[in-house]
Symmetry: C2
Subunit: 210 residues, 2 copies
DNA sequence: TACTTTACTTAACATTGTTATAATGTCGGT
DNA sequence: ACCGACATTATAACAATGTTAAGTAAAGTA
């Protein structure tokens, strides 16, 4: 009685330990450089034990990516519903940059790695679109359009979302992948991002408004 | 007499064949998925033969990346020196997008893959900065700033170059890495890029000008 | 007590990048 | 014509990788 619960609890615990170890090592050394054996060593199991909890290495990554996506969405939600929809757009960009700079490797896992997400999990993540980070951005875009402060030719929330996502993502990606290359004199990412976002919003506003 | 030349010519030829095969396979299946054995098979050599021409797999990639970077720079140069420096900025963005969409896998190799470029080659590529793609963009930015048509607070060519590079790169990167994900309703990349660039430039111009 | 199930290990597999060693030829000089 | 040096490729192996087949030992269930 209750022993069954204890078992599943312990199972969940080792599962958690695997995930934690994998996350740390993925984040520190990257996905490719992290071996299943190294993960197993870290938690003092044999590599095969991992396969009892996860189908394969990709599944491990996928699970972590989904969790990280959720934490980004959560950061977005904490922005709350700032009254001015245009200002809200700027804040979202800022939070995005903050997340990417605070967790560069997590960011790399989420947005810079091509992973065939399992369709089942995908559907789950999609079930509540209001919780997704992209959905949050899209909603903010729709609100900004409806406010009437943007140029009249800006009317597609998806297009606008992508026009705003691309710049911040691009800057983060370049800094992560090319940040060490000597042929570019990189400027401070936070500052560049701020000015870039500001410029973008400026270009989006209609003639009269500023 | 002349046999020495023939030898080095033949050596260059097999070197070329290795590069061609590698390029095709990297581009078709990606870097990780392409094995040295597969490359060797394609040109009907043993894997070891490749090591007589290239230090290792990374060196192969590096060589190809440098060549592709050069071809991007060449595309930039073909834009020529359009009189209006602001218009030139738009054209560069357009050429960049065109290149990325025409050669998505080359693009991936150049800008989406983290590779420790050998410093020697790096220096070579750096020796003539006017030939580099980034240097070209930077020069155009400097010209635009000097034209006086931009906002007065925009005065750093490097910062401006990065503010303009990031959006187009971001859009291309997202389309390549996340283009298949179902949770985003992707809009046509070319159109989005065009409107994004236009918006960006609009935000950069000083108050009176437009 | 006899069975099934669970959580894990041992040992192996094929595949990877890479290398030590050898085979084969080609050139320059005598 | 022959010999030694060198260049080019092959054979065979290495260690490391993700993954799996088969087994083990303990706990739960009957």
């Amino acid at each position: 009685m209750g022993s069954r619960e204890r078992r599943t609890r312990e199972r969940e615990k080792t599962r958690e330990r695997i995930l934690d170890a994998a996350r740390k090592m993925f984040v520190r050394h990257g996905y490719e450089a992290t071996t299943m054996r190294a993960i197993a060593d870290k938690i003092e199991y044999t590599p095969t034990a991992i396969y009892h909890h996860f189908r394969n290495k990709q599944a491990l990554l996928t699970e972590l990516v989904i969790a990280d996506l959720e934490s980004l969405a959560s950061a977005f939600r904490q922005i709350g519903r700032i009254e001015d929809p245009v200002e809200r757009l700027g804040r979202i960009g800022q939070a995005y940059v903050e997340f990417a700079l605070d967790h560069p490797m997590h960011y790399q896992l989420i947005f810079l790695t091509k992973h065939p997400l399992e369709t089942v999990k995908m559907r789950l993540a999609r079930q509540d679109p209001a919780e997704g980070a992209y959905a949050f951005l899209r909603a903010a875009c729709a609100a900004a359009i409806q406010s009437g402060r943007l140029r009249p030719d800006i009317k597609d929330p998806d297009e606008l979302a992508q026009m705003l996502w691309a710049p911040v993502h691009g800057l983060m990606a370049l800094h992560i992948v090319k940040g060490e290359d000597p042929w570019v004199e990189w400027r401070d990412a936070r500052k560049t991002a701020a000015r870039m976002n500001e410029t973008m919003v400026r270009g989006l506003l209609r003639e009269g408004a500023r």
